[in-house]
Symmetry: C2
Subunit: 351 residues, 2 copies
């Protein structure tokens, strides 16, 4: 897999296809797995880590469940390349910043990524555009089974799958959907959503996972509990709640339009205008403005722009992508200029 | 003169020609004169006002100093038409809101306007684009002489020309230049300019004269004293001080560019972007954004737009012009939408 080519493409989760993709950007399931005969990565020395990496690299080369995976040696990448994989949600920030031999197997469409030697030996992730958790589950289940057919996972009859961190123990599953909720943010109704989700033990995070800020009105909703319930039950909880949030967001959007169409039209149109003309722009402002434009397109208030390009810009304007696109390391000030240049170019070429 | 046609043209002071017109929008001289045999308008009853109006209307029809003047019966105009003349600086707000028979003679190019029955019987005004007070003086002097050849002005050997308000007594002259000073406003150096001007008895006002706010970084600088000095001396004071302000503004602009070209480029470019995309916009914001765009064009930071159109928009986006252009009366909210529509249309048709 040519990392340079990533700067010219979008990952699966940016395709803007799939059910409810105006609001649900992507669905994701990941499984945490460990090999029974090796210590967890945090307890393994360099030679054990290397052994695990080699073993699993070979394993992934067998196309689990018919999936061709490109294996990238993350420990051999430069910082910028690792950051780019983080920005594309193909590896975690922890996996990028960790040490020792480690890697990731990525499918061509970037809808499967399997980290080796992250917190656990294996972090299997399947992504889909839109609201499509069943598809994610079907595929990840097949991949997981295919690997388990050859390898013995660390498993306890009492606790289930054993993981480095107790919070993942049991099913080892994290089910999450990435939602774009500008209407609920704008009307401040989003706090009600948070409260409701907390009550049923669901976590809300920003675009880049734990600890990240909710930029661009994006929120990841995921399960916190992994123990004591089946995978199907955990998926069911998310599957049940997401349609409610989707219709809440849709209702709020329609209220915004009917109460103040002019004001909303003005806001999204100005956001588009600023993106097309700014000469320097921060990542945060970019996310906010792209969020407005995305809302504007979905409401039919902006008609000369398509969602996939906007989705792509959310990722391509991130620091590492920008620097890869420009083929140079850039400090914040220069990145802000490069970002504005890139956005102007991309938005104006479509006109 | 067809008032409707004014919505499709610019006045003399918007041409953006003439010396230093990047900073000096226009030069203006006006003379206050009264006919000796009639009481001042404020002391005249309706029949006397009517008599003065008829007399001077006939007088102006004689093409003073070869100047063809279109006589408009201001007292016969609807409010919107009167406001439009105010917005074009052809009549004063007071003349628009006054009562009784009154009018204004306007040259085709809108560089001469002579109000009849304003505060004084005659308020003769000559306008030029750019810094051109000598031209103004030459022309207004000739017009004044031509009228005085037929009519006896109220004049005292001790006090000079007599006027309704003592502050105009003596020469009856007001010399003013309209300056665009975004650099001095941006750096807050403008207060130093104000202080220096006050010390030499010069007044600073906003775009629409006494009591008006300094919108769009426009300032009118004019003499306060009219008595005890000759017209030439009063003109000389302004003529001497304006080049200093012009070079101060130029210096500050260059400093802004050299210190933070990117930031300035970003600011003017975004202003342009917002004007091209906003769906509702107030008059104040319009003036501020147009001011930034005007600065950007003059500094070569915006290269696909010309100053005359920007100058024109300063006037055409004023409330009365907008309503005349749309052929309907509009409340503030609807005017803001109409203004945004008009600006988008005008700016995008040039692309």
């Amino acid at each position: 897999m040519d990392l340079e080519s990533l700067t010219r493409t979008s990952g699966e989760w940016l395709k803007a296809t799939g059910p409810d993709s105006d609001i649900v950007m992507s669905s994701r399931i990941r499984l945490a797995r460990n090999l029974a005969q090796f210590p967890f990565p945090s307890r393994a020395d360099d030679s054990v880590r290397a052994e695990v990496d080699e073993l699993l690299k070979t394993q992934l080369a067998k196309h689990p469940a018919g999936r061709k995976l490109n294996y990238i040696v993350v420990s051999g990448l430069e910082l910028l390349d690792r950051q780019m994989l983080v920005e594309r949600q193909l590896i975690s920030r922890e996996h990028s910043e960790s040490h020792g031999q480690r890697g990731v197997g990525i499918s061509d469409e970037e809808n499967v990524s399997i980290m080796v030697n992250e917190e656990d030996h294996l972090r299997i992730q399947v992504l889909r555009s839109g609201f499509a958790l069943d598809d994610c589950w079907q595929e990840i289940n097949a991949i997981d089974d295919a690997i388990e057919a050859d390898r013995t996972y660390a498993f306890s009859d009492r606790l289930g799958y054993l993981t480095a961190c107790p919070t993942n123990c049991g099913t080892g599953i994290r089910v999450s959907v990435l939602m774009h909720l500008p209407g609920l943010v704008h009307t401040k109704e989003i706090t009600k959503v948070f409260q409701a989700l907390q009550k049923i033990n669901l976590a809300v995070r920003g675009l880049y996972g734990e600890g990240s800020q909710a930029m661009g009105d994006f929120y990841q909703i995921s399960n916190q509990v992994t123990l004591g319930k089946s995978e199907e039950q955990l998926i069911r909880t998310i599957k049940d709640v997401v349609p409610n949030i989707v219709s809440y967001e849709r209702r709020v959007r329609q209220e915004l339009v009917s109460k103040n169409r002019r004001g909303l039209h003005d806001q999204v149109s100005r956001a588009y205008g600023i993106l097309k003309t700014a000469r320097t722009i921060s990542s945060e402002e970019t996310m906010d403005l792209l969020s407005s434009v995305r809302l504007g397109i979905n409401l039919g208030l902006i008609d000369d722009m398509e969602i996939p390009l906007i989705n792509e810009l959310f990722v391509h304007t991130q620091p590492a992508h920008l620097q890869k696109i420009r083929h140079e390391k850039l400090e914040t000030v220069d990145r802000n200029v490069a970002r504005a240049d890139y956005i102007r170019q991309r938005l104006n070429e479509r006109r």
